[in-house]
């Protein structure tokens, strides 16, 4: 396997163990206050404030609580967690330990996607070293009475298990079908106990914040989107790889850094994100504008956007868990519609029906998969109508 290009990351400059030390000197509320003050929001893409999540779990009354690290990185175009787990797994486990201390959990689970099985030995090795260094186990990190252990569990090739409740179902030995929310995992999570599920990157930032202070983090980024973010960049650009930028960066600035300024569109946030055309490249990547879990896919001038939409819909049609009707049937219908467009056989009326179906899916689907799967198709129809209507048809292509 070839090396992933990785721009300098803040994680490399953080001294191992400093964040945990600082956290263990505070009381539990102090840690949560620090994380809340930093403005850190979930780095998996949904952007839920991390401090609030930890606080809810800490406030829940239950002697058994869990910390779950979501390493089921399946969003098309995302590979930052693979790089973080390869180079900075220690920091991730440090973040999990800080969280466990803050909420009062004794057990942590890292749920690693089955496609990353080749990373398992490396990760287990780092956990072993942490146990030997007494950073895990009884009196972890030298804090009397604080006990915490981390276990690795593998996924088995299901994108939907990246959804937090589906992940918990999977951990419980069930089919990975999302649950209704509420109740949220912070109240009723793994085996019915309060659980904090966070993304790999979120835990690494939590450890970094405890080490460098919430003030430092808060000052970077925008008001609503504080701090730095790790991006996975792929597609038509000179230097694909992993980058770190402050949130609030414009798409144009990002494209300049990766060598992709001639792009005609950029998919921000993976297949479930949105497709931003060149005329909107001044928009900001932030929770209040174009949100992302870190996936940036660059489309060069020669790309056929309908083919892009087809690829995304094939993905969702295959990965829908089939539990709720809007998602199970809707993704198939939209994919069928794309094939009609490719053959030049789709009327304007039917295209509008398809868009209405997409909007219904966004409203009526049970989980994030169905609520976001029509996004790419809808934004391609909106932004590239000339490209997709009145095509010559399969025979002439």
């Amino acid at each position: 396997m070839s090396e992933t290009y990785t721009a300098p990351l803040t994680f490399s400059k953080v001294k191992a163990g400093k964040g945990l030390e600082a956290a263990l000197e505070l009381d539990r509320a102090g840690v949560i206050n620090e994380i809340t003050a930093s403005g850190l929001k979930g780095r998996g893409g949904a952007g839920f404030p991390t401090g609030v999540k930890w606080n809810l779990a800490a406030a829940a009354k239950d002697p058994v609580k869990y910390v779950v690290c979501n390493a089921d990185e399946g969003e098309p175009g995302t590979f930052k967690d693979r790089v973080i787990l390869t180079d900075h797994a220690d920091l991730v486990f440090e973040g999990m330990t800080i969280c466990a201390y803050a909420i009062g959990a004794k057990k942590g689970i890292l749920y690693l996607r089955g496609e990353y099985t080749y990373l398992q030995d490396h990760i287990e090795g780092i956990l072993r070293k942490r146990r030997e260094a007494k950073l895990l186990g009884k009196n972890a990190g030298g804090k009397k009475g604080f006990e915490f252990n981390i276990e690795v569990r593998m996924g088995s090739g299901a994108y939907i298990c990246g959804e937090e409740t589906a992940l918990i179902e999977s951990l419980e030995g069930q089919r990975g079908e999302p649950r209704n929310r509420p109740p949220f995992p912070v109240n009723t999570g793994f085996l019915g106990h309060p659980t904090v599920p966070n993304n790999v990157e979120t835990f690494a930032w939590a450890a970094t914040i405890m080490s460098k202070g919430s003030e430092w983090f808060k000052k970077i980024g925008t008001d609503k989107s504080a701090g730095l973010k790790i991006f996975s960049v792929s597609g038509d650009c000179k230097q694909p790889g992993v980058y770190e930028f402050p949130l609030g960066i414009t798409i144009k600035e990002l494209l300049k850094a990766v060598g992709g300024l001639d792009a005609k569109a950029v998919q921000v946030g993976g297949a479930s994100g949105s497709c931003v055309p060149a005329r909107e490249f001044n928009r900001k990547i932030a929770f209040e504008d174009v949100a992302t879990g870190g996936s940036i896919i660059v489309f060069g001038p020669q790309r056929d956007m309908l083919k892009v939409a087809e690829n995304f819909m094939e993905f969702f049609h295959d990965e829908s868990c089939g539990q709720c009707t809007p998602c199970r049937e809707g993704n198939g219908k939209i994919l069928e519609g794309i094939h009609m467009l490719q053959q030049g056989k789709c009327s304007m009326h039917y295209l509008r029906e398809l868009c209405a179906l997409g909007e219904t899916m966004q409203l009526a689907s049970k989980c994030g998969l169905g609520q976001t799967s029509p996004n790419a198709f809808l934004s391609i129809v909106k932004n590239f109508p000339d490209e997709i209507m009145g095509r010559a048809g399969a025979a002439q292509e």
Partner: protein
């Protein structure tokens, strides 16, 4: 399947279930162990797992059929999974796919008659900066070109027998 082998499997299943906590949440890791060592989860294995966990075997079946990496039917010794998602697609996965089909003489979703290879599509493997990418069992190959396909298949053929790409692998099916 010979009886002692069945006994051995049952013994292993008991061991794994205990190792992973002894309750329903041990189900997935136990099935993964069976899959890794035996290449599939047989009806017999499902029944044993169900008995140990005091659940109906169809519950086990339901879980197996949900996950792409668990199988009830035997697949090839080497499962080649080519990523078909957008970045690998743009990097030229279609030509790699055609070459794989040509060199193996099978279509996607099929296995070779000698039981060595199964060819499958995978959704995003998280190797988007190295496309086209594929997995052979759990080993990664990146920047695959149609030309490299032959070498990858040959390295598997050579490994067939004494050494395999997958550790701790025993086939008794």
């Amino acid at each position: 399947m010979l009886t002692p082998e069945r006994d051995q499997l049952a013994e292993n299943i008991t061991k794994w279930i205990d190792q992973y906590g002894g309750n329903r949440s041990a189900l997935l890791p136990t099935l993964q162990e069976i899959q890794k060592r035996h290449g599939r989860v047989t009806e017999y294995a499902m029944q044993v797992v169900a008995d140990k966990l005091s659940i109906h075997p169809v519950e086990v079946y339901g879980v197996i059929t949900f996950y792409a990496f668990l199988d009830t039917k035997y697949k090839g010794r080497f499962i080649i999974r080519l990523c078909r998602t957008i970045s690998c697609d743009m990097a030229g996965k279609s030509r790699v796919a055609r070459q794989l089909e040509n060199d193996l003489g099978i279509k996607f979703g099929e296995s070779t008659a000698d039981g060595r290879f199964t060819l499958e599509w995978a959704n995003c493997l998280g190797l988007c900066d190295h496309g086209p990418a594929l997995l052979v069992n759990s080993q990664v190959f990146t920047h695959v070109t149609p030309e490299k396909v032959h070498d990858i298949i040959e390295s598997c053929r050579k490994a067939f027998g004494a050494h395999t790409l997958q550790k701790e692998e025993v086939h008794i099916a």
